[in-house]
C-alpha cells in the first residue's frame, strides 16, 4: 500500500524529475521582440497544448503586495480591448478545448489544450491579452472575493497547509520564497486594481515570456504563426532584473510547533536550505534528487521506510523530498509520521537516527542501480504525456535553465556518484539552515506532557 493521506504534501517522482527530456523533435526559436519558443512535436493524436509562460511569480512581488502575481493570473481571464470578460474561456470551450492557468514562486503560465487545427486562434487570443488587458473595479472586486475563497479552501481550512505556510516563512529569513504564492490573507484582501495593472504593465511582455507548443504541429508553421501573432507585440523596455533579496547566513536552527484540533496524524517535518538546479551546473541538485529517493522515496525500499516503517514499526509513513526546479535556493526535507502512542520528540530522534545510519551504511550500489534504471525508464514513460513534456520545458526556462539543461538532466542524474550522494547527506548534519516543525492536536499534545 503506497498511498497515504500526507503523501501529497511533498512527493518525489521521477516522472516529474526527469520527464521526457529526449532532444528528439524538440526545436526552439526566438522572435525579434525577445519571445523565446519551444516546439515539441508529437503526432500521435490531433491535439496541441499551447502554453505561455511568464518569467514572473510570487517571488517577484514587492513586499506588502503578496498574492498579486496570482491575483493577476485570475484577472487575465477578464476582457481585453476586443474581447469581453469571460470570452477567452468561452471561445476555447466553443472549440472543444479547455484552458486554465497556474502561478508559482518563479512563473505564471496560461495554457489551452485544443484540436491542433485551432492553434492559430489560441495564439491570436493569447497575444491579445499579453498587452491589451482591460480591467475595471467591478471585475476586480468580484475576482478578489473569489481569490479570498480560494485561499480559504486551499489553506485556511487545512492545518497542514497553514503550517506549511508558517514553516516556509521561518525557512526563508529574507528571500520572498517565504511568502505564500496565494498571499497573506489580509494583503490579498486589500489588493487594488492599480496593483494589478502596475504588475501587468511591468512584467507581461514578449521579452519576459516563453512560448511552449506541444503536439501534432509542424515547427515551421508554429514559427510562422508565432511571428504573425506574437511578433508585433512590443517588448518591455524597463523589465526589472530578477534579483531577489538573498538569504543572509543562517546561524540558528528553528523549531516550531502548531496545535490544531483538525490534525488527525501528528507529524514531524524538517527542511533545510539546499541548492537548486543551475544552468550548466546541475550536479549538486542531481545528488540531492537521488538522495531523496534513496533515503525516503518508496516506503518499501527506501532507507527510512525499511528502518522505521518495516523493521522498527515506529512510523506510519516516512518521506524525504526535494525539488531542484527553482530560480533561487530551494529546500530538502524529511518527514516522519509516528505510529500512535509515539511522541513527536521520539519521531524527530528517529528521523535524525535514520539520516545518521544512512550515512554510516554508505550507498547500496544495487539500489542505486535500480534507481538509475527508473530514471532511464522515466524518459520513456514521460514521452506519453504531452502536457507533462510541455510543462517541464516551461518550468525550466522560467526557472533559469536552458533547453540543453533540460535535455542533459537524465544524463547528469545517471552520472551521480555514491560519494556525491553521501556528501549531500552529510550536508544535512548542519542544522543551522533547518526548520523543524511539529504539527499536532490537543489530545496528542496532552498525552505527551
Amino acid at each position: 500500500m503506497r498511498r497515504f493521506a500526507l503523501a501529497t504534501l511533498a512527493c518525489f517522482a521521477f516522472s516529474a524529475a526527469a520527464q521526457a527530456q529526449t532532444a528528439d523533435r524538440v526545436t526552439t526559436f526566438t522572435l525579434d521582440n525577445g519571445l523565446e519558443a519551444v516546439v515539441i512535436e508529437d503526432n500521435r493524436a490531433p491535439v496541441v497544448v499551447h502554453m505561455m509562460w511568464y518569467k514572473v511569480g510570487s517571488a517577484d512581488e514587492t513586499s506588502g503586495k503578496s498574492g498579486i502575481a496570482h491575483f493577476l493570473e485570475h484577472l487575465m481571464f477578464k476582457g481585453t480591448e476586443t474581447m469581453e470578460p469571460g470570452e477567452f474561456s468561452r471561445v476555447v470551450a466553443a472549440n472543444g478545448g479547455s484552458d486554465n492557468a497556474f502561478t508559482s514562486y518563479d512563473y505564471t503560465a496560461y495554457f489551452q489544450r485544443v484540436a491542433s487545427d485551432r492553434l492559430e486562434l489560441m495564439m491570436r487570443m493569447e497575444s491579445d491579452r499579453m498587452r491589451n488587458l482591460v480591467l475595471d473595479d467591478e471585475d476586480m472586486l468580484t475576482e478578489r472575493d473569489v481569490v479570498v475563497e480560494e485561499r480559504a479552501q486551499r489553506t485556511d481550512s487545512n492545518p497542514g497547509a497553514l503550517f506549511s505556510e508558517q514553516r516556509r516563512a521561518a525557512q526563508f529569513l529574507n528571500h520572498p520564497y517565504g511568502r505564500p504564492i496565494i498571499g497573506w490573507r489580509d494583503e490579498v484582501a486589500a489588493l487594488t486594481l492599480q496593483d494589478a495593472l502596475d504588475f501587468y504593465a511591468l512584467h507581461y511582455a514578449p521579452n519576459n515570456a516563453v512560448l511552449v507548443v506541444a503536439g501534432d504541429v509542424d515547427p515551421d508553421e508554429v514559427r510562422a504563426l508565432a511571428t504573425q501573432y506574437y511578433g508585433p507585440v512590443p517588448p518591455s523596455e524597463n523589465l526589472p532584473p530578477r534579483a531577489r533579496p538573498a538569504e543572509p547566513e543562517h546561524l540558528s536552527a528553528r523549531h516550531m510547533e502548531m496545535v490544531d484540533d483538525r490534525v488527525s496524524n501528528p507529524y514531524v517535518i524538517r527542511t533545510w536550505l539546499a541548492p537548486e538546479r543551475d544552468a550548466g551546473a546541475q550536479q549538486d541538485a542531481a545528488a540531492y534528487t537521488l538522495l531523496a529517493a534513496l533515503l525516503g522515496g518508496n516506503s518499501a525500499t527506501s532507507h527510512m521506510g525499511n528502518l522505521l516503517e518495516q523493521t522498527e514499526k515506529s512510523a506510519l509513513y516516512t518521506e524525504a523530498f526535494y525539488s531542484g526546479m527553482s530560480l533561487d535556493d530551494t529546500t530538502f526535507g524529511m518527514l516522519v509520521v509516528p505510529v500512535p502512542g509515539r511522541t513527536l520528540e521520539q519521531a524527530e530522534a528517529d528521523m535524525e537516527r535514520s539520516l545518521k545510519t544512512f550515512i554510516e551504511a554508505g550507498i547500496d550500489s544495487a539500489k542505486l542501480e535500480r534507481l538509475k534504471a527508473q530514471v532511464r525508464a522515466s524518459e520513456i514513460y514521460g514521452q506519453d504525456s504531452l502536457q507533462g513534456r510541455a510543462r517541464s520545458y516551461g518550468a525550466a526556462l522560467t526557472s533559469g535553465l536552458t533547453v540543453e539543461d533540460v535535455q542533459m538532466w537524465p544524463t547528469i542524474l545517471e552520472a551521480v556518484t555514491e560519494e556525491q550522494i553521501l556528501a549531500a547527506a552529510q550536508s544535512l548534519l548542519d542544522l543551522n539552515t533547518s526548520v523543524t516543525g511539529y504539527l499536532t492536536n490537543p489530545s496528542a499534545e496532552e498525552a505527551t506532557q
Binding site: 498511498r3 474561456s89 472543444g96 491542433s116 472575493d145 475563497e149 488527525s264
Partner: protein, 433 residues
C-alpha cells in the same frame, strides 16, 4: 505452443484530419478478451484491468476488507516479501497501481517493452498470489486506521460520508469503503483471502491495453496473467434504494469556510434520457468556467472558488450531485442562488445558444481525451465495464448532437426537483437556517 486468436475485430475511428484510433478486440487462446490499441512509437505498454463489484462486495460486518486486500497486493506476492517485490519491480522499472472504488477495483500497469515478460510475471504474482504476510497486514492495517482517522477530520470526507449515510442506509454505498476503525481492526487474514476470492474472477474482468504490443503478442500474455482465475466470484451487490429526502444537514466543523455537498436522485447510464441529462448537466454545472453555476455563483457574485455539478451514475444507484465551498457567512445566499438556478432550468430548460455551445464543446473535447497510452487504456477498460460496444467511440458524438431543447426541457423538469434537494453543510454557517 500454438498461438491462435479466435477473434480480432478492428474498428477504425477517424479523428480530425490526421489521426485515428484503431481498437482491436483480442481474445486469448484461453478465452479472455481485451481491447487493444497498438501504439509502437514509444517502447512501453499501458494496461488497465478492472474487476466489477469493487468494495461493494464487502460482506456484512467486514467493511474495508476489499480496500485492505487491494492495499496488500504489492506488499508481498509469490516468492517475494514486500521489500523483495518492490525491489524486483524497481529493477524492471515497471509501475503498478492498485485502486478500489465502490463499483470496481482497478489495476493500472506501465511496463517497458524490453522488460515485458518480467514485469507481467510480477503483476501476475500480485493479482494471483498475494501473500498477505502477517507483518504486512499489521502495517497496512495501522496505515488504513490512520487514513480513516484523517478522513474523519476532513470536511470534504465528512460531507461525503454524511450524504452517503443519508442516501443509502443498509447498503454498502452508505459507508466509507475504507471501513471504520473497529471494522478494520477486526479484519483477519482469512477475511482478506475471502475478499480476494470474491473480487478476482473471470466473469467480471475488463481489460484495456495500449502501446508497443501486437494482438498476437498480447493473447498468450492475457492467459498467463489472468488465465487460471476462477470463473466466478461473490454474487454482485443489489440495487441501492435511495432514502434521501429534501432538506439540510449541518455538521459542525471549525473552519472559516463551509463545504457543501448537495443533490437528489439521478439518471441511470442505461436510461434513454442519459445523454439529455449529460448535456443538461454540462450546462448546469459540468463544464469549466461557462456553466450556470460557475457563472452565477463564482463569476458574478464571487461566492466561491469553484462549484460543479455531476451525474453520479453508479452501477447500483444514481444521484445528481453538486459541491462547493464558501465562507460561513455566504452559505445562505449561495444555497438560495443554487436553488433558483436549479428551479429555473427545471422550469425553462436551456437556451438554443447554451445547447449549441455545450454540444460543440462536448463533441470537440471528446477526441482530445485519447492523447496518451495510459489514458486510452483506461477509456478502453471503462467502455467495456459500462457495457459499451467497440463502435461507441464512433457514435458517441452523434448521441450528444441528437439531444434537443425539448429533450433537455423534459429531463430537467423530471429530474431537477428543488424540493428534493438535500444540502449537507460541513462548517459553521452563520445566519442560516
Amino acid at each position: 505452443m500454438m498461438l491462435r486468436f479466435a477473434l480480432i475485430i478492428a474498428v477504425l475511428v477517424p479523428f480530425g484530419a490526421r489521426a485515428a484510433v484503431e481498437i482491436q478486440e483480442v481474445t486469448s487462446p484461453g478465452g479472455i478478451t481485451a481491447w487493444l490499441v497498438e501504439e509502437p512509437s514509444i517502447p512501453f505498454v499501458a494496461m488497465d484491468i478492472r474487476f466489477k463489484g469493487g468494495s461493494s462486495l464487502d460482506p456484512e460486518g467486514k467493511r474495508g476488507a476489499t480496500y485492505m486486500m487491494m492495499g496488500l497486493l504489492e506488499e508481498g506476492a509469490g516468492d517475494r516479501d514486500a521489500r523483495a517485490f518492490t525491489e524486483a519491480t524497481e529493477a524492471v522499472a515497471a509501475n503498478f497501481g492498485f485502486d478500489t472504488f465502490r463499483d470496481s477495483v482497478q489495476i493500472e500497469a506501465q511496463f517497458l517493452t524490453e522488460n515485458r515478460e518480467e514485469s507481467l510475471a510480477l503483476l501476475r504474482d500480485a493479482i494471483k498470489f498475494p501473500r498477505f504476510d502477517q507483518d504486512a497486514i499489521d502495517r497496512v492495517q495501522t496505515q488504513i486506521v490512520s487514513i480513516i482517522e484523517g478522513n474523519e477530520t476532513d470536511p470534504n470526507d465528512i460531507a461525503g460520508t454524511t450524504l452517503a449515510a443519508l442516501s443509502y442506509p443498509g447498503h454498502p454505498y452508505a459507508t466509507a469503503q475504507e471501513g471504520t476503525v473497529e471494522s478494520v481492526n477486526a479484519l483477519t487474514r482469512a477475511d482478506l483471502i475471502a475478499a480476494h476470492e470474491a473480487v478476482f474472477a473471470r466473469d467480471r474482468v475488463y481489460i484495456g491495453v495500449t502501446g508497443d504490443i501486437s494482438a498476437a503478442e498480447l493473447g498468450p500474455l492475457l492467459d498467463t496473467l489472468l488465465g487460471d482465475l476462477p470463473a466466478t466470484g461473490a454474487p454482485m451487490p443489489v440495487e441501492a434504494e435511495l432514502a434521501l429526502e429534501g432538506g439540510q444537514t449541518i455538521v459542525d466543523y471549525r473552519s472559516p469556510q463551509s463545504v457543501v455537498l448537495f443533490g437528489h436522485a439521478g439518471v441511470d447510464r442505461d436510461d434513454p434520457d442519459f445523454f439529455p441529462a449529460f448535456v443538461a448537466n454540462h450546462i448546469l454545472g459540468g463544464g469549466g468556467f461557462e456553466s450556470r453555476l460557475m457563472v452565477n455563483v463564482r463569476e458574478r457574485r464571487g461566492l466561491t472558488y469553484g462549484i460543479s455539478s455531476f451525474l453520479a451514475s453508479r452501477d447500483y444507484g444514481n444521484q445528481w450531485l453538486g459541491q462547493f465551498s464558501t465562507s460561513n457567512e455566504n452559505v445562505g445566499p449561495a444555497i438560495d442562488l443554487i436553488q433558483s438556478i436549479w428551479d429555473d432550468m427545471a422550469e425553462n430548460g436551456v437556451t438554443p445558444e447554451e445547447l449549441d455551445a455545450a454540444q460543440t464543446y462536448l463533441t470537440g473535447a471528446y477526441p482530445l481525451r485519447f492523447d496518451g497510452n495510459g489514458r486510452i487504456a483506461g477509456i478502453l477498460a471503462g467502455m467495456q465495464a459500462q457495457g459499451l460496444g467497440v463502435d461507441y467511440i464512433e457514435t458517441r458524438n452523434d448521441q450528444v448532437n441528437a439531444v434537443t431543447l425539448e429533450d433537455i426541457q423534459r429531463v430537467a423538469a423530471e429530474h431537477l426537483v428543488v424540493e428534493d434537494m438535500h444540502f449537507v453543510i460541513v462548517g459553521q454557517p452563520q445566519g442560516f437556517n
